[in-house]
């Protein structure tokens, strides 16, 4: 084990692009209590790396991801991207894909896909051209004129991914992007994401509930502890890319999945105990 388990070992291609040092985030609840969602997280993510974060529900995964993207005020610590501090959203460098309700329902697929470029001030023709290119990449150029309500959940998420890619970000932050989808669609979109990421060389931080998804997609899987969330465990996935479905049934896959599961389940129980404590204390909390 290296001295600092949250730093990836030397020799990985690509330098460190996204760095969190001592990142803590606390919230004030309506009742006035303080919730420490993320506690002193140190983390370095390398260019082109695919990192998954897995942890019990409510442990602070989304909060940590938002902190990476400048969408949440930190209570302490710093996040830096390419050596520059991130204190607000960085739409040219960091793009988000959220779990659901991420498309604007009154805008067509094309109008949704151009939004980032529109906010950036890119002219109509150029932004629509770019949007169509990325819609094609996710296989949805044929429904550019549809409204989100006409699309299945999986298609909506693909549009959200296309929109994120139009911004040409160096880092993609994805918060359970396939969490609301059925198992088959999930697997399909997972492979598609892996292909796109390999083609475009993006750095990805990916929050998920699914062990299989984490192992299949990642170079590293981070297990988060019960709240306040800390990085408890780092698991390397030493499998060649491109990975195909045979990896899903391999022995390495099984071994890694078991290893992550035993680490995770401990925290799930601890988080349940934390929630129970909160309930007893009469503090409203999810």
């Amino acid at each position: 084990m290296p001295e600092d388990p949250t730093r990836s070992p030397a020799g990985r291609p690509g330098s460190e692009i996204l760095t969190a040092s001592g990142v803590s985030v606390s919230f004030q609840t309506a009742a006035g209590a303080r919730i420490d969602a993320v506690d002193a997280v140190d983390l370095g993510i390398h260019e082109g790396e695919f990192v998954s974060i897995i942890g019990p529900s409510g442990c602070g995964k989304s909060t940590l991801l938002r902190a990476f993207g400048g969408l949440t005020r930190l209570s302490s610590g710093t996040v830096t991207l390419d050596g520059e501090r991130v204190v607000r959203p960085q739409p040219d460098k960091i793009a988000f894909v959220f779990q659901d309700y991420t498309l604007f329902p009154w805008r067509t697929v094309l109008a949704n896909t151009v939004m980032g470029l529109q906010f950036r001030g890119v002219g109509r023709r150029e932004r629509e051209e770019t949007a169509r290119h990325f819609l094609q990449l996710v296989g949805l150029d044929w429904c550019a004129g549809s409204f989100p309500a006409e699309l299945s959940g999986g298609m909506q998420q693909r549009v959200a991914i296309a929109r994120a890619l139009t911004m040409n970000p160096s880092v993609l932050l994805m918060d359970e992007p396939f969490g609301a989808l059925d198992e088959q669609t999930r697997t399909l979109l997972g492979s598609e994401l892996a292909r796109i990421v390999e083609e475009t060389g993006k750095t990805v931080v990916f929050v998920t509930h699914s062990l299989a998804e984490a192992v299949f997609l990642s170079d590293r899987v981070l297990v988060m502890s019960a709240r306040p969330g800390q990085i408890k465990d780092v698991v390397e996935v030493p499998a060649q890319r491109p990975r195909d479905e045979s990896f899903l049934t391999s022995e390495v896959f099984d071994r890694l999945r078991r290893r992550i599961f035993s680490s995770l389940i401990e925290e799930v129980h601890r988080q349940a105990a934390v929630n129970e404590e909160y309930r007893r204390a009469g503090t409203s909390d999810s």
């Binding site: 793009a95 988000f96 991420t102 604007f104 009154w106 529109q118 906010f119 409204f147 989100p148």
Partner: protein, 263 residues
């Protein structure tokens, strides 16, 4: 359990039949002297009076006057109400300061202010217009605030992550996202404004508007003319309502409730 019985006629036809039946009964009741013709006019005389009155220049002028009051009053309420709704919906500070005085005013019966309007605005079209504006503005404010509150936080976070400025968010998220709410709020405003205009005309009428003519014919016991004016007003309101329904459907077509399709 048998087969569900199907109504044999289309609903529109049934609707027309019900109205026709009601008109026949009404006509008969008056014709057979069950109520005094002085107070209640039969439909046939009402229709005749509608045609006659529509040809009179002073009645036409009265409708123009009333419409002017309505359009000015509702227009002011629409603009002010939407703006105030946005300010209160978007700024917690403004909400804290303005909400309780506005709600107090909303809860007060507005007709107690009628004499004040006369004092400050005189007997012209301004008084009914101002009274309409005051009555219509609250439902607009309340619906717009509710529309803003109902906007999904996740959409706002998405907009932030895509680099939207505050102005971008108002233009591309808040306005389109609350547009259906604004349209239905404005409809409530239209109804309030119509009512308020007529009420004001009946009580503080200085000009020869529709309210004036209704009062005029009523005091002359010309029931058919009174009914005819009310009928014209009702037709106007119904036409407005139909137009608004279409606008509303157009504004929220992305909800696709009737299509509900998934590809």
């Amino acid at each position: 359990m048998g087969r569900r019985l199907r109504w044999p006629w289309p609903p529109t036809l049934v609707r027309v039949l019900i109205i026709a039946a009601w008109l026949v009964v009404w006509e008969a009741v008056v014709r057979f002297g069950l109520v005094g013709q002085l107070l209640v006019a039969p439909p046939s005389s009402t229709v005749v009076a509608m045609v006659e009155l529509a040809g009179l220049p002073e009645i036409q002028a009265g409708f123009v006057e009333t419409l002017l009051e309505f359009v000015v009053g509702f227009g002011v309420a629409a603009v002010v109400g939407t703006l105030l709704g946005f300010v209160l919906g978007l700024s917690p500070a403004a909400f804290r300061i303005l909400n309780s005085p506005l709600m107090t005013l909303y809860g007060t019966p507005k007709s107690i202010f009628l004499p004040l309007f006369v004092v400050f605005l005189g007997l012209g079209y301004q008084s009914p217009a101002a009274f309409a504006a005051l009555s219509a503005v609250f439902p607009v404010i309340i619906t717009v605030i509710a529309g803003i509150r109902a906007l999904d936080q996740r959409l706002l976070m998405t907009a932030d992550s895509l680099g939207a400025s505050r102005l971008d968010k108002v233009r591309f998220v808040f306005l389109p996202g609350t547009f259906p709410a604004i349209i239905s709020g404005l409809w409530l405003g239209i109804k309030q404004a119509l009512l308020a205009v007529l009420l004001a005309e009946m009580f503080i009428s200085g000009t020869r508007n529709v309210g004036y003519w209704i009062a005029h014919y009523a005091s002359a016991f010309q029931a058919a003319s009174v009914y005819a004016l009310i009928a014209w007003l009702s037709l106007l309101a119904i036409a407005l309502g139909l137009a608004w329904r279409r606008l509303e459907a157009h504004a929220s077509r992305w909800r696709l409730t009737e299509r509900g399709a998934t590809l």
